[in-house]
């Protein structure tokens, strides 16, 4: 299985939201809905505050509970990778996968009644390109690639920098990494 990962540098992200706009444009995300979003996390006590920006989306987990709990197989892994996709023709709109995602990342109910979500832009990945959000980032804080290849940019960043993933305790093994 090829494990694709996104590595996002919280030190260079300025929270501009360009990734969100790029995704909406690239994927024709229905009005009012979003497949990715930016979080501003502030911690500390005034005046000693620390702010971190995180561009978040589906984590394309190695152990995706949204896939294991889908009753029809509509939620599936794309071509022996960790990219989680939904097949609209198999989706009943039962919403089990929305409840099954501990990251509340499986958010988009397409107006036509099936689940729509971040695809890691597999249609671009297939052509060797980066996902739209990664390509559009003006600070180049986002990186994408395969973790199986030790020479890939993402592998190197994770080897040399300190990082975290969101709530690793979920056991889902998320594949969106945040550099600290």
């Amino acid at each position: 299985m090829t494990r694709f990962a996104m590595v996002i540098d919280t030190r260079t992200c300025i929270g501009c939201g360009d990734c969100v706009v790029a995704c909406k444009t690239e994927n024709n995300v229905p009005e009012g809905l979003n497949r990715d979003w930016v979080v501003e996390a502030t911690s500390g006590t005034y005046p000693d505050l620390k702010t971190e920006f995180r561009s978040e989306r589906c984590n394309h987990c190695s152990n995706p509970t949204c896939v294991t709990l889908c009753p029809t197989g509509a939620s599936h892994l794309w071509k022996d990778t960790n990219i989680v996709l939904v097949e609209p023709e198999k989706c009943t709109g039962c919403k089990a996968c929305i409840a099954a995602c501990p990251y509340d990342a499986r958010l988009v109910m397409h107006p036509d009644g099936y689940i729509d979500k971040c695809t890691f832009c597999h249609h671009r990945v297939e052509k060797g390109m980066d996902p739209a959000c990664v390509s559009s980032c003006p600070t180049r804080c986002m990186h994408f690639g395969s973790l199986d290849d030790p020479s890939s940019e993402v592998s190197k960043l994770l080897k040399t920098r300190e990082y975290k993933v969101l709530s690793p305790e979920t056991g889902n093994e998320p594949n969106v990494y945040y550099l600290l």
Binding site: N34, E40, A41, S43, L69, T92, K95, Y114, T170
Partner: protein, 335 residues
């Protein structure tokens, strides 16, 4: 302190500001599914234990309700689906890790078993309608067959109906992402609650005094077990992970406190417990009709409250709107 704020508007209808994907349709389905399980178990038990005399309604007529109640439940479940044309997709695959998939297939097995259960007592329970069937050879043969194997059919019905009852709870507890549901006690709790509602239904509609009394006693026992399971459920969450302890607050001071303790525990469990005790001990029979109605109400309330409090519980909490309290939180000293 720590605050997590969404800086790009997300506003995805079903999850912001908190997850709310399922409403009364699913609660009703869970309730009716549990009731069906209870109805089938009691009809079967009365057969296996030879209670035709003592409990004529439960032994001979009750089974008819199972497919009707279940169909009503499946209808409300269908109403909840967002992609209704593709409902057949439940039956084009079996997903071993998905309780919903198990449930879909259990239902396929439940229907024929329940129909055979009805036919096995159709002549004694619904003589008028059985007369029509008896006029045709095939009808006669089917009824003969089911009557001959009445006991065996009942023996098969018990484990499958039990599975149906437990599944309605497992369906929720399998969601590790929703800490409030993440307790193995939900399976047995929903089963016992389903059986209790079925016993209450028999106590409500059976005509014979002895049968009413028998099912009131059964229901009393089930309510006691259910109270114990509710306690175990609360203890389970209270001694669980941080997420579970957090989630539990929704019924210990949070938004669901009142409905949980007053509507479910008070009106749905404790008051019927009291009324049924008074009835059995012969102290007062005045409110005998009220107890089963409250039990049925409590059964539904349990599903609705569990469903609502559970889907809101989450691992992630963002403040999605500007909120002046956030500024104050920034000034707070670190705990």
């Amino acid at each position: 302190m720590k605050e997590e704020l969404l800086v790009t508007a997300r506003g995805n209808e079903l999850i912001d500001p908190s997850l709310h994907i399922w409403t009364w349709e699913v609660a009703m389905y869970l309730f009716l599914g549990g009731l069906t399980a209870g109805v089938m178990v009691f009809a079967a038990l009365m057969t296996v234990l030879n209670k035709d005399e003592e409990a004529p309604f439960a032994a001979k007529r009750l089974a008819l309700l199972a497919p009707l109640v279940l169909s009503a439940g499946m209808t409300t479940l269908f109403l909840d689906l967002e992609h209704k044309l593709f409902v057949y997709r439940f039956y084009t695959s079996f997903q071993i890790t998905s309780p919903m998939s198990w449930g879909a297939w259990i239902l396929v097995v439940i229907y024929p078993i329940s129909i055979m259960q009805i036919l096995s007592t159709f002549r004694s329970g619904y003589g008028f309608f059985a007369g029509f069937a008896d006029r045709m050879t095939i009808g006669r043969e089917i009824l003969d067959f089911c009557e001959r194997y009445r006991r065996q059919i009942a023996m098969v019905a018990i484990p499958f109906a039990t599975a149906l009852g437990i599944y309605t709870g497992i369906l929720l507890s399998a969601f590790g992402a929703r800490p409030f549901w993440n307790s193995g006690v939900l399976g047995p709790l929903f089963l016992v609650s389903g059986m209790s509602t079925a016993a209450a239904l028999v106590a409500l509609i059976a005509r014979h005094h002895s049968e009413k009394a028998l099912f009131t006693r059964i229901d009393l026992g089930l309510i006691v077990v259910e109270i114990a399971l509710v306690a175990l459920f609360l203890i389970n969450l209270a001694t669980g992970t941080g997420q579970q302890i957090d989630a539990l607050q929704s019924v210990l001071g949070g938004p669901y406190t009142l409905v949980f303790w007053v509507l479910f525990v008070g009106i749905g469990l404790l008051i019927p417990l009291l009324l049924e005790t008074l009835e059995i001990t012969g102290v007062s029979k005045k409110l005998a009709m009220l107890a089963p109605i409250l039990v049925l109400f409590g059964g539904y309330a349990l599903r609705q409250i569990m469903l609502d409090a559970g889907q809101e519980s989450s691992w992630t909490h963002y403040d999605t709107q500007y909120n002046s309290e956030l500024l104050e939180r920034l000034h707070e000293e670190n705990p």
